[in-house]
Symmetry: C2
Subunit: 413 residues, 2 copies
């Protein structure tokens, strides 16, 4: 598997402060990996409000089914995440593993199993032996501490080459609250492994329905606008927890997502999610470059997104970027295949600041040398102007390299 | 570019007999390639009935626009194909190039420009200098002969590693007629190049509307069920010509596609198209294995096709096949992402004759050794049973190898 760190890794990891009411512990249970942690327990001292967004896969994992059920209660006391096994496509045994884990976590924090949230990432189709870590949860709950976000991000990695962390602080009516988030993976990214997971927590006092509304709104331009290989995991899970501990410092308790006092929080949350999502794209398997595809002038935002995804998912666009080739003909191809309205003869395409095509043909002033200079950089902005309307969207992706094929196909060769 | 022939190439090329009324000539015009032919002229001694199917791209090439217009007349006297330049995204100059070519071909065969059909394949976005070959067309028309199908298939290749040819003979009311076909490429398959092209001709006497109905019906399970990299060309063109010359040998003239006398012809035509389409998949860039994905038990044929395409287009499934890994977890993932109805707990998956998963979990009797033996073969059949209905579809694809990335991304590295 990958041993080298992505060249797009951050030069320094964000230092995440403790979130009041959140405690963390990790353990090495030997689920699949040796010599590293693979279980994360996050506990909430008091019942936290919770919101979630999950994979759209018609074949979701057992933990995704479990979380959807728990989410109805809107209250969280514990989160258990394991790496090394996705507990996906595991039938009855998979459901038993989730029930066993939830029961052990509930006992460890003196809560109901329906106040427990679960996520698993790793091999699909192998039964998960939850007995490897359920016995550890009571001890982990006792030793959990607030300053272990980096350890949490490490424990949930699979073939990630670096941990993904982000933090923001923002005031709600003068009281500063913190938002911390961790993430792993991108789409179906790894040999036998799956999943984009992200867990975000805040000490703000926000009711579950309002949290859910903000999460659903924020996921569209962030996690749902990232693609590595167009393959949707069976296990994608994004959870947002609010402990409400900041209320004791004077932070108002807010139950309406449209409350004006949430404006800055909403912006910070969206910003943090985009930060984490881009870290995921920049750690895509074999990635050497980040691709930022912006489509403007579409008939709607949805049309712009669909065209941007067609470009970002195109193997030919992605291999061209890997080859540092400003191959705008492939961008035209991807616009054409997206199925959304497009007028070939109005199309303009930019690589970075260089306009390479305009009015349906090569830009007569286009400089190959300038375009090549753009393509040699680690971030490649591709901008398409359709000239039809006001719809606009940006999608984040990475290049397609031989390393991707090696990581995903070289087991037996 | 690719220099080695695909290991999936046929061991012997089909020998195509002349089709009465069809003559062929090729030339080396130096459009892009040196030392090889790159222009094909096919002439029809008498006006031939014609049908066509084209790319669904919203940004089609100039020749595709031109052919759609010519098709309204339903009559063909000449076909001109060039390789090396796709005349796509070339604006006004592109339209001028098609008009100039059609005028020259029409003059060469004494026909109307609207009885000329055109196709171009190669670089996108570069103006096509039709002057390089329009001057050759009159001479080519004079020297054209019936026994040059292999030369025709050679002239239209771009990064194909072998020419694609197929022929069938079938009786219509006791008169034997011939169907010949050639093809090139698969989807957007090559550096700076595009296009799946196929040209089929018969001496049967079938009116244009009936031809069109049979072509539209036959393209769905053949050319439209082949995918190499999910990228749709701006230039895909399939044309079917019927000279009617067999009428002089007693073959009935048929104008209704539902005429029972066409049953065998229809079957032979479909069979020939599938033959050519599979040759295209087996010559996909970097291909080492053909993947045959069959989905059964879907709620409809359309649902089965959509799921089969999701599997066949998945980079993770394709890299697993390249690695000879019976990774059925990735097949589950692809079923789940297709968006069609699927019940995880009824799913069964077979690689060749080996059932690897059943009832939503790994088959307890599954033999890794037997599955591995299947994966080492050049053809990999993947069969998914959904258990929901009677919908069934088969899609043909190839594996995703480092060679694909090298061909499409290695220009500048």
């Amino acid at each position: 598997m990958t041993t080298t760190v992505s060249p797009l890794a951050p030069t320094a990891f964000a230092a995440l402060p403790p979130i009041e009411g959140v405690r963390i512990a990790t353990a090495a249970a030997g689920i699949k990996y040796a010599g590293r942690t693979d279980v994360l327990l996050m506990t909430f001292d008091r019942p936290a409000a919770v919101a979630g967004v999950f994979t759209t896969s018609k074949c979701p994992s057992a933990p995704v089914d479990f979380c959807r059920e728990s989410l109805r209660g809107g209250v969280a006391r514990a989160l258990v995440v394991n790496s090394g096994n996705a507990n996906a496509f595991t039938g009855r045994k998979g459901r038993e593993a989730t029930e066993m884990t939830a029961a052990a976590a509930a006992a460890a924090v003196d809560a109901s199993p329906r106040e427990v949230f679960l996520a698993s990432t790793g091999v699909i189709g192998e039964p998960l032996d939850a007995g490897k870590f359920t016995g550890l949860l009571a001890g982990l709950a006792k030793q959990a501490a607030g300053d272990r976000w980096r350890e949490a991000a490490d424990a949930i990695m699979t073939t990630d080459t670096y941990p993904k962390l982000a933090t923001r602080q923002v005031a709600i009516e003068g009281t500063v609250v913190t938002i911390n988030g961790i993430a792993k993976g991108a789409g179906m990214i790894a040999p036998d492994m799956a999943t984009m997971l992200s867990f975000v927590a805040t000490d703000a006092a926000i009711a579950a329905p309002a949290l859910q509304a903000m999460l659903t709104e924020g996921v569209a331009p962030s996690f749902n606008s990232v693609t590595v290989d167009s393959d949707t995991s069976t296990s994608d899970t994004l959870l947002l927890f609010a402990t409400g501990a900041a209320a004791r410092r004077g932070c108002p308790e807010i139950s309406d997502a449209d409350d004006d006092r949430l404006a800055d929080f909403r912006k910070a949350l969206g910003d943090l999610m985009l930060d984490l999502a881009r870290q995921v794209a920049r750690d895509g398997e074999g990635a050497r470059k980040e691709i930022q595809v912006t489509v403007e002038g579409a008939t709607s935002a949805a049309a712009a997104k669909r065209i941007a995804l067609a470009i970002a998912n195109s193997p030919l666009v992605k291999t061209a970027v890997a080859g540092e080739d400003a191959n705008w003909g492939r961008v035209v191809m991807a616009v054409g295949k997206a199925g959304e309205e497009a007028d070939r003869d109005r199309l303009a395409i930019h690589f970075g600041g260089v306009r390479v095509a305009v009015d349906g043909a090569r830009d007569p002033d286009y400089s190959e040398a300038e375009a090549s200079a753009v393509m040699r950089k680690p971030e490649i902005p591709i901008r398409v102007e359709l000239g039809l309307g006001a719809g606009c969207w940006t999608v984040y992706s990475c290049d397609l390299t031989k390393e991707y094929v090696a990581i995903n196909g070289d087991y037996r060769s």
